[in-house]
Symmetry: C2
Subunit: 277 residues, 2 copies
Amino acid sequence: MAGTDRRKGASAGGTAAAPVVVLVQPQLGQNIGAAARAMLNCGLEALRLVAPRDGWPNEYAVAAASGADRVLDRAELFGDTEKAVGDLQVVYATTARERYMVKPVLTARAAAEDMRRKIAEGLRVGVLFGPERMGMVNDDLALADALIRIPLNPGFSSLNLAQSVLIVAYEWFQSADATPGREERFGQSEPAGKEALLNFFRMLEHELDECGFLRNVEKRPSMVRNIRNMFQRAGLTEQELRTLHGMIANLTDWRAGTDELGEPVRRRRLRKAKTES
Amino acid sequence: MAGTDRRKGASAGGTAAAPVVVLVQPQLGQNIGAAARAMLNCGLEALRLVAPRDGWPNEYAVAAASGADRVLDRAELFGDTEKAVGDLQVVYATTARERYMVKPVLTARAAAEDMRRKIAEGLRVGVLFGPERMGMVNDDLALADALIRIPLNPGFSSLNLAQSVLIVAYEWFQSADATPGREERFGQSEPAGKEALLNFFRMLEHELDECGFLRNVEKRPSMVRNIRNMFQRAGLTEQELRTLHGMIANLTDWRAGTDELGEPVRRRRLRKAKTES
């Protein structure tokens, strides 16, 4: 059941069957921490750092990780990129610019699917991210089997390091996530059955007849259909139908009677008055 | 050609046919700036701010926007969320937590497709993002037609505000982006034709025969096939074939002759020696 295990691994943040993230010469500790947070958000835990500029460990990284400490605590430190990828079998490198290298270029989405396939085959996979601003040197890009380019606004495509990590990690997580695109939520209730809905319609139409809103006999059928369509479209729950029943009952209280001065009196007030008298 | 216009709008960062991003009570200017940057990365330019905690404009926002100034410059300020959504026709709200609301819940990906459809119908669409940490109050969520929930590691799902904006904006951009998932790149050259490849194989096999590497007659056919497969798999370009020809020619220089002591001499050195003598 390799498939089941992999999915479980991804959801639970397992590292056994997930790509390693390699940050090449990252500059700001803050970006390393934000990258670690984005990784853990998406179930990735294996982080490698190649010659971080400000040394390691780094307190700014811890602050920015916002609780993704276990990614930072287990981060592995390397002196150069070659050593950092030595035990990997498939390496991807993210790049924003066109480099005249003879290499496949994948979108982040296609790369995630590609990584899933490689990992399903039991291969050890990693993704390289270059330093802030400069991006990766060509010698490091040459270590990769494929490049990842994130499709973005060509007029403003420069992503922050942690944002790049987030997109790649996000696509990794989505590629095995089974959440349906759209779920209807009914709170604590259930969608109303048609009989209950029709009961409400009949009650409403009775009250609208009583108050004269539907007095135009010719237009009545189409008005009724329009009103029914409106409420039908709302996809009401049983609880919401009870609320609507209550609303209409209260709104029509005035029909119950008039007081001694001939003014309309609410049923409830009338009942109360009767009880008191 | 509504479809074409929309795609163009998204790629060029147009706002006419794109969702409005509404940040409800954002706290840190830095997050507003990073959100603006993420928006422009993905071709979104219309930003609305509801009661930003530290006032507006905000110098930290400008610094974090890293050049996405035109999003900040045109940001609209509102006193409350109701006013901010007043002219919109379809509103989505991002939320990390389950709220017992009777409302559809969409993934970021499905929401992007939904927004494309609504905008194609000419509707004015917006997405609400709540304040850092607390998320949105239920009264603001009630303004939304649908909720957006980003599928993430359930054990660590809290995204930074700008990261949430990035994911929603990224999915928006991807939903109309036509970049092929995988593109093969051949640098300045072209993939080698089979005839050129076979020429190389014949040259290589000739040299391997000469040096004795293929001397085992029985194994020779399978060795030749394995070697051909190896190079075939690399998907070589014409330029790369020329490089390989040159490599083999240089590596086989020694075959040309021996010097006066009987040691092998490289052809080039031999030629040079002959010229000099």
